[in-house]
């Protein structure tokens, strides 16, 4: 009984979604952009997050603490605060209104989380275990040992970066100069407007993207694990 109560408390906001199931799924530019951003940023976050966390774990250089703080503090710089400075920094490089520019600022909002998550996970696994992998060639290291150990973390990193990317409206509007539509920019204009069912339909998309990605990755990793385990036999 108490289980039901707790489950109810956690799940009740989803009632709103039931009110409008999307009648049709138009594959337009906004959804295309969004999916590409989510996948690319997920990949880049995993790569840079694990790479940087690895360096932080194993380095003995005197720069370790400053670098740690440098990667740590952007978590506390609100997006609204740094938005305009980033625009001015990237405008002379011609990156405003381009996919690279928008991708870059989206990476800025997600990378600190990824580095933190990767570092925490590797810390828990422990340096001794990870040190053993240094004897392997890089690809074997990642494929055979690190990915299986870190697969949950990778899924979490991808989930976090996806959800954060999907939440960015003001940032994408500014850096993309309105030329880069994403599901969120379109949906925000729908939220402020008249059509409730349109807004709910778009909300479905916003929620389905991370879910599908997460479940998809789970399946992919499952296959990978089975392949790796096969090699042990």
């Amino acid at each position: 009984m108490s289980r039901l109560l707790v489950a109810g408390l956690i799940l009740f906001p989803f009632i709103g979604l039931v009110l409008a199931f999307p009648a049709r799924f138009d594959w337009d530019e906004a959804i295309g952009n969004t999916v590409v951003y989510v996948i690319v940023l997920g990949f880049v976050n995993v790569w840079l997050g694990i790479g940087t966390a690895w360096w932080l774990m194993f380095t003995d250089s005197k720069w370790k603490t400053p670098v740690e703080w440098f990667t740590f503090l952007p978590l506390f710089i609100p997006v609204l605060a740094s938005m305009f400075g980033m625009y001015i920094a990237l405008a002379p490089l011609g990156l405003v209104g381009t996919h690279i520019g928008v991708g870059l600022v989206l990476l800025v909002t997600t990378l600190p989380y990824s580095i933190r998550l990767a570092y925490n996970a590797m810390y828990v696994i422990g340096r001794p275990l990870l040190e053993q992998t240094l004897t392997l060639a890089p690809w074997s290291r990642f494929g055979l040992v690190l990915f299986p150990l870190l697969k949950e973390t990778i899924r979490t990193i991808v989930l976090f970066s996806t959800v954060i990317v999907l939440s960015q409206f003001v940032l994408v509007q500014l850096m993309g100069a309105g030329l880069i539509p994403t599901v969120t920019t379109q949906i925000y204009q729908a939220y402020a407007g008249n059509d409730v069912s349109l807004a709910l339909q778009n909300t479905w998309v916003l929620i389905l993207v991370p879910v599908l990605l997460y479940v998809g990755l789970g399946g992919l990793f499952g296959i990978w694990i089975r392949l790796v385990k096969g090699r042990l036999q």
């Binding site: 625009y87 490089l93 011609g94 407007g193």
Partner: protein
């Protein structure tokens, strides 16, 4: 060593990309501009909150432009204040080649842009159809002279709409409106004054009390105290106000409030025909109504100013203005001077004025008043908070 070389290569590529950005030149005559603009894209930044307006641009204007001038029109929906903010950042970052070619602007957004030197001037002599413009509408924008920095696109007047099925005896003056809200609590509200329409509503109330005398921006305390007496009878007891006109329309469509308002006497027709607004929607003109013009402008760093000129010319043509005034799309009044058109065109315009939700055009015309200047708009924005508390 190898890494250093890679890094150096990356750096030089970045610098290369930063070079080669100089301002685009406008052609000296319209014919040359049309030549240059062939096969190019024009990015038209405008407020995207009204479906009718969006359809007008996408379904009527864009295909015509493609056919006649071979110009691709790209409509970019963005709030006016946001892209003006973008332009000011561009100016700060010395970005000489921007992404905005043409924009829809008016009021204090125009004033901000003009003061910050964000617009290209001398547009009027390069646009043939500008000769047809209504001089009075073209010269002043909410109290700020335009000086050729923007081109008048449409003319509208402020009108309120109410649901005649629910409101049996509509008020005829602002005082009666106040009493009406007391008798029908929770059925009326207006957008926050950061929204253009909400600010305009408060300007109307100001005019009702003080007339043109309040034009200097000094608003007496009594006015705010009187406005605060409206609060207990407004929607949600005045504890919160809709953030934008779109949200007020949403409340009106849902039947939570029984009146809405806006700067376009014909805006409710299409919504009523689609069933979004209640069937009983009718226009309400109180004792005066502010007339307002909205404009088109070209920013200082437009990549395709020639294309922008071509689009402006097309938008000012009598055929396009006629389609714009038609209730199928927008219903926006024309900025052209009807006396400068030939007889056939003029008749076509005059025949358009009949919709169920339209106000009586003569009554509307006689109650029209010019807008206050920017000082009042700012003063209202700064001081209104005490009412919202």
């Amino acid at each position: 060593m190898r890494r250093l070389k890679q890094f150096g290569l990356m750096l030089s590529l970045i610098f290369l990309a930063a070079c080669g950005t100089t301002r685009a030149e406008i052609a000296p005559t319209f014919e040359q501009a049309a030549e240059e603009a062939k096969q190019s894209t024009v990015n038209f930044y405008m407020w995207g909150g009204d479906d009718g307006i969006n359809r007008y641009i996408d379904e009527y204007v864009a295909p015509r432009l493609k056919e006649t001038y071979d110009v691709e029109l790209n409509r970019v929906p963005m709030d006016t204040a946001e892209f003006v903010r973008q332009l000011s950042l561009d100016k700060r970052a010395n970005r000489e080649e921007g992404t905005i070619d043409l924009m829809w602007i008016n009021g204090d957004n125009f004033r901000n842009a003009a003061e910050a030197d964000l617009l290209q001037g001398d547009l009027l002599d390069k646009i043939p159809n500008a000769a047809l413009l209504n001089e009075e509408a073209q010269s002043i924008d909410a109290g700020t002279p335009t000086n050729g920095l923007e081109v008048a696109w449409g003319n509208v007047q402020f009108v309120m709409h109410y649901d005649a099925d629910k409101v049996k005896n509509p008020p005829t003056t602002f005082d009666e409106l106040h009493r009406w809200t007391e008798e029908n609590p929770g059925r009326f509200t207006y957008p926050e004054v950061t929204d253009f329409t909400g600010n305009a509503f408060v300007r109307h109330l100001l005019y009702a009390e003080y007339g043109a005398g309040a034009g200097d921006g000094e608003i007496p305390e009594d006015f705010w105290e009187k406005l605060a007496t409206w609060s207990p009878y407004l929607w949600k007891q005045g504890a919160t106000y809709p953030k934008s006109l779109a949200q007020l329309d949403q409340l009106y469509a849902a039947g939570d409030v029984w009146m809405t308002m806006g700067f376009n006497e014909r805006r409710a027709e299409a919504e009523r025909n689609d069933g979004v607004f209640p069937n009983g929607t009718r226009a309400l003109v109180l004792e005066h109504s502010i007339a307002s013009t909205h404009f088109l402008a070209v920013p200082f760093n437009a990549k395709n100013p020639n294309g922008a000129l071509v689009v402006i010319n097309e938008l000012l043509s009598p055929e396009a203005q006629l389609a714009k005034q038609d209730a199928t799309y927008w219903g926006d009044g024309t900025s052209l001077d009807l006396t400068k058109l030939d007889a056939a065109d003029r008749d076509a315009f005059l025949k358009l004025d009949d919709g169920v939700t339209y106000p009586d055009p003569e009554r509307l015309a006689e109650r029209s008043i010019p807008d206050y200047g920017p000082a009042v708009i700012d003063a209202i924005r700064e001081e209104w908070d005490r009412v919202a508390q």
